[in-house]
């Protein structure tokens, strides 16, 4: 499918979040074009609130693959007054990413942006297509999606429109972990159990750090934790875990009783939080 995107579009890119799904996607792209290099850039939307481990990992990977990296900066969008920063105790830059992402797509004229989103993650994503058409405002209309039959993908579009493409749509969290293990893919250290200063908020462990305001009642403690997804520091919750190897993580995933996005504060804002953001052009 990644090759199909390369063949059907003029200017594709991979949206690289630094999370395991986009790392797997990048790995697949590497395999699809070997021995040539990946013939399109990685795009990273940097909220400025990323974990330093994510950024370090990103830079190493880009150097190793010899691909171009495009960074869209949310801080820049804020400085240019394209978006306004949220305030308050649960403030997050997650929602602001959408504007930066759409601006970046427009500036570089990407006509296909590949992402590592999977249908098993969230209810609104369960209906997403592999090739997902976006109008010239970047919006997604769940009722007007193109039917996808067999493995025939229709990437035809008008000027100004673009596609989001989700090559690993059909993978589950377990599939991703098993693939990482069997292909021996490197991941940021965040995914493995480590000690970190955290505090309990909204039902999950949040890391202390420069981007988060503590309430007087918040009690930071040092815990052995790991992350199941890699979002922004202030909104990504960690789980208490001893799993410091891939094999242990897989055992943990197999026995776990909550979804990986269950610890994401951005999805908890309302029952349709994801669908509403998707309609506006979020991933």
């Amino acid at each position: 499918m990644i090759r199909e995107v390369f063949a059907q579009f003029q200017n594709p890119a991979i949206l690289f979040s630094g999370g395991k799904d986009s790392i797997v996607l990048t790995h697949l792209a590497k395999k699809a074009f070997w021995p040539a290099k990946i013939p399109f850039p990685l795009v990273h939307i940097d909220t400025g609130h990323n974990f330093p481990e994510t950024i370090e990992f990103r830079d190493q990977l880009v150097e190793k693959l010899g691909v171009k990296l495009v960074v869209g900066s949310v801080q820049e969008s804020i400085d240019k007054r394209r978006v306004q920063e949220e305030t308050g105790i649960n403030a997050s830059r997650n929602a602001l990413q959408t504007t930066t992402l759409l601006d970046t797509i427009e500036n570089y004229q990407f006509d296909a942006a590949m992402g590592g989103a999977r249908r098993d993650e969230e209810k609104a994503r369960a209906k997403e297509r592999f090739f997902s058409h976006r109008d010239d405002f970047g919006e997604w209309n769940p009722k007007n999606q193109r039917p996808e039959l067999w493995s025939l993908f229709n990437g035809r579009k008008n000027m100004g429109e673009h596609f989001r493409v989700f090559p690993i749509s059909n993978w589950t969290e377990m599939d991703v972990w098993q693939y990482i293990l069997s292909e021996n893919i490197e991941l940021p250290s965040l995914y493995f159990a480590h000690e970190r200063e955290v505090f309990w908020r909204n039902g999950t462990w949040i890391s202390t750090g420069p981007y988060i305001q503590l309430k007087p009642s918040d009690q930071p403690v040092v815990k052995q934790i790991r992350y199941r997804t890699c979002g922004d520091m202030p909104i990504t919750g960690a789980v208490e875990s001893e799993a410091d190897t891939l094999e242990k993580i897989i055992q943990e995933v197999a026995s776990t009783r909550t979804t990986e996005r269950g610890s994401r504060a951005d999805d908890k804002r309302s029952e349709t939080a994801m669908e509403d953001r998707k309609k506006q052009g979020y991933f």
Binding site: A7, P35, K127, E148, L149, M174
Partner: protein
């Protein structure tokens, strides 16, 4: 679960279909719930929503009804994909809507399925929707149909009701091309015969739905006889280490390719031998459908996207005029004078309908030879002329090289799907 064989576990894809209120979403919710595939936070969400609706039980259908609009309407409106696994198999469910105007979603879900689950409300028996869904399953060549006669709790788990419905269905199904039809009496709401055996229907000797799903033989969908490799893209690294490398990348749509095999390229007719086969940087001795690989040839011949690499003694048919069964998906009716973009494998050509041979009334299986107007949800037989020859197989031999989609040139929407007869 043995972790090391997880990636090799068999995957069964199935569609679910039923009329509105047949309890399709409840059945999927039940499969997920009883097979313990539901996470705590999802269950909490559903419990909360059920309470808000004033229900005294957990409404399992809320687990699958994905989008806001349909949660408000209480019906499913698009194809939703669900994933779960048991220790025996992995499953992908394509949950498709039951009401009449969304036949296109049924067809979409059916195009990749190994099995179709058809729901019948025990109180209503076989209805028009049942015919439509069964016909589509047979048209799209889904190998197995499982008919679930649901809401048995509302007919006092009566054996005769079940037998009558089964008889009625069999009469109809005898007119279809379906190899394997099974019947199971269930109650999705109460859980009878879904994952656990029902204590209320001693007269039923068959196995539960889950047992069927776990054991159905997935008579491989792949064709391992006719070698077909449509080229997606040509890989030329231009690097020092791979200066003369020229690889053809694509997915094998049929048959087996081995290093040293003599191959023939369509449409040029040029021949060569397979030099190497790569999956990423791994060199393979052989590759088969549906693997995505890169193939290099011994001779430097001209091959590009849209070409098919095949074998001398087993070639696809070269066609300028195709006999097709077509499902029309768009509100805009078919224009008999219009030109359409045809996508088949990695080729894109222009096409024009020559004639509508007949239209299928899929509730009666009667052929309508008079009415040639084609609109949303119509299924018809046609002749299509294409601007460049396509290299095809009949759909019943190969679901990949035998299928195509039809795109409106102006709106770029996928307006129809075709199967080569």
């Amino acid at each position: 679960m043995e972790n090391n064989n997880y990636l090799d576990m068999e995957l069964l894809r199935f569609t679910t279909a039923g009329s509105v209120d047949d309890g399709k979403s409840t059945l999927i919710g039940r499969l997920l719930y009883d097979s313990k595939a539901i996470f705590e936070d999802q269950l909490e969400q559903v419990k909360g929503s059920s309470e808000k609706k004033g229900l005294d039980h957990i409404d399992l259908s809320l687990l699958t009804d994905g989008l806001k609009d349909e949660r408000e309407q209480g019906i499913t409106i698009d194809v939703a994909y669900r994933y779960f696994a048991t220790p025996k198999r992995k499953f992908i469910i394509a949950d498709t809507p039951g009401h009449i105007q969304y036949t296109r979603n049924m067809v979409t879900g059916a195009s990749t399925a190994n099995a179709a689950l058809i729901l019948i409300d025990a109180r209503k028996g076989v209805v028009e929707q049942t015919y439509r869904h069964s016909y589509i399953a047979s048209l799209l060549q889904i190998p197995h149909i499982i008919v679930c006669i649901n809401k048995m709790d509302l007919v006092d788990f009566d054996e005769e009701t079940y037998n009558n419905i089964m008889k009625q269905y069999k009469e109809f199904a005898s007119k279809l091309e379906v190899k394997d039809v099974r019947f199971i009496p269930i109650s999705a709401l109460k859980g009878d015969n879904v994952v656990n055996r029902s204590p209320n229907m001693d007269w039923y000797n068959g196995s539960t739905l889950m047992h069927n799903l776990e054991t159905i033989h997935i008579g491989s969908d792949e064709n391992h006889t006719d070698a077909r490799f449509p080229v997606q893209t040509v890989i030329r690294p231009h690097s020092d280490a791979f200066h003369d490398f020229r690889g053809y990348a694509g997915r094998i749509d049929g048959g087996i390719f081995r290093v040293g095999d003599e191959v023939l390229v369509k449409p040029s007719g040029l021949t060569s031998k397979v030099k190497e086969i790569f999956l990423g940087d791994d060199s393979l001795e052989q590759a088969y459908a549906p693997m995505s690989v890169t193939i290099t040839l011994q001779d430097d011949i001209d091959v590009s996207r849209g070409n098919t690499i095949t074998k001398q003694n087993n070639q696809p048919e070269e066609k300028r005029e195709l006999d097709l069964m077509v499902c029309w998906f768009n509100e805009k009716p078919m224009n008999p004078m219009g030109k359409y973009v045809i996508r088949h494998g990695t080729s894109e050509v222009l096409g024009k309908f020559q004639e509508v041979v007949y239209k299928m009334d899929i509730s009666t299986l009667q052929r309508d030879l008079e009415n040639k107007h084609i609109g949303l949800n119509d299924i018809f037989k046609t002749k299509l002329k294409v601007s460049q020859p396509l290299f095809v197989d009949p759909y019943h031999r190969n679901r990949k090289t035998g299928s195509l989609i039809i795109i409106d040139e102006a709106s770029n929407e996928t307006v129809a799907a075709g199967m080569i007869v």
